[in-house]
Symmetry: none
Subunit: 131 residues, 4 copies
DNA sequence: GTGGTCTAGACCACG
DNA sequence: GTGGTCTAGACCACC
């Protein structure tokens, strides 16, 4: 389980991990029923405090992304079918915000399209992409 | 000076204002030499504490975006020519992150392109767009 | 961590502390990676408000002299190799200003040299010298 | 009357002007009985507010450096003979502080001497030196 | 415990 | 009126 944690970011570490795991589940990279690493192991591998990981699992559980088997550990739950669609809409919104900002810097519709296409190609050429 | 402040966001209020003003300067919406609203007035109009605005201007000044004449006020400094380019590169990076996330959700290159085009058109059709 | 703070000086308290800590880092008295006193403890030991110390660290961090791990504390970052050289050039400039002022008071080159030598000896004789 | 005013300095503008004029008087560049520029003219030529210059003259007068002829203007008073000596001692102190700082940066007595000599020569070679 | 942010209110110097 | 600094005290997130 490889997650990049930015300790200097404004968004709290636990939220970074939560969304990273959420995305793995939604993207199908973590499959239903599979068990997650233990709190302690994940904490060590991410270089964060065990309390932080505990909080991560607590949040994930309360949002229905994982279930706990007391004494055994956490395993991923079945993602609600609509959550993927919601996530994509969020991504659309983020994309829109970026486009609007580019437009403010006097970039034309064509300029923005060019930039986008270049980036898109880049992403699909290299197959070693992780967020 | 219209800036939306989200008190519930993870990113601190003062940083929201800092980047908003930075972008106005980089986008040429605030021109060099023009004076900015006073600390107190901006604080009132944004609904935040004067100290928060003071911190905003302190940061902007230490990054060279504005200059202060004590007893007079703040005015915008000449933005370094490279800062716009740097900001655009940041936006490219954000775009790339989004594309990568979309890709993880099993969207094809073509799918992503379609989504992007729809959003881009939407932005350039309506001319009442501010982030 | 012994720093003299003059509350009656024209130069603001937070800047006095900033330069004091900067000099300690540049002089190698605080070594890279070593952790600094906590905001609250330093505030007490210096007799100033915690916010003032927070501002000090904020400035030091934005200038790259220290780094922070929220919840842990501050530690000194690796000083840029050129910063020591730059500091020495500043000191040269200060020295030059003083010499020029002495010259205006009708002191000859020889007079100034004598004064300087006397002071220099004084400094290197007594080994209990801290600014 | 040429005085450099740094609006970005921490030391207040009026104090900068006060010490500049004091030094002119002590150095004999302004002679006893000669009249000073009017408040308004000096304010314009220095690019500061007339109130600031008024405060300068007020301070200079209360310290005995100038006298006022109401309705006429200010003229320089006879400097106390000891004030020059006091000013030189202050300069010695500043010099000592600089030397101590240099020493902290691991400069040897010889190193400091070399730096000083180079600066001293530079000052006495060029004859266009103003503080 | 730590850093980080924000509010509230005061005082000063400068215009 | 302006910016600038400082104090005091609160709350939050993280360890």
């Amino acid at each position: 389980m490889k997650i990049k944690v930015d300790h200097h970011s404004d968004i709290p570490v636990y939220k970074q991990i939560v969304t990273a795991i959420k995305d793995m589940i939604l993207a199908g990279e973590l499959i239903e029923g599979k068990s997650l690493p233990s709190v302690r192991k994940l904490a060590i591998s991410l270089g964060v405090n065990p309390n932080t990981v505990a909080k991560v699992f607590f949040v994930l559980q309360s949002e229905g992304y994982v279930d706990s088997k007391p004494g055994i550990g956490y395993y991923v739950a079945k993602p609600s079918p609509s959550s993927i669609e919601k996530r994509l809409i969020d991504l659309d919104d983020e994309m829109r915000r970026i486009i609007i900002k580019m437009k403010r810097f006097a970039l034309s519709e064509e300029d923005i399209n060019k930039r986008f296409s270049a980036i898109l190609e880049g992403v699909f050429e290299n197959e070693h992409d992780r967020s």
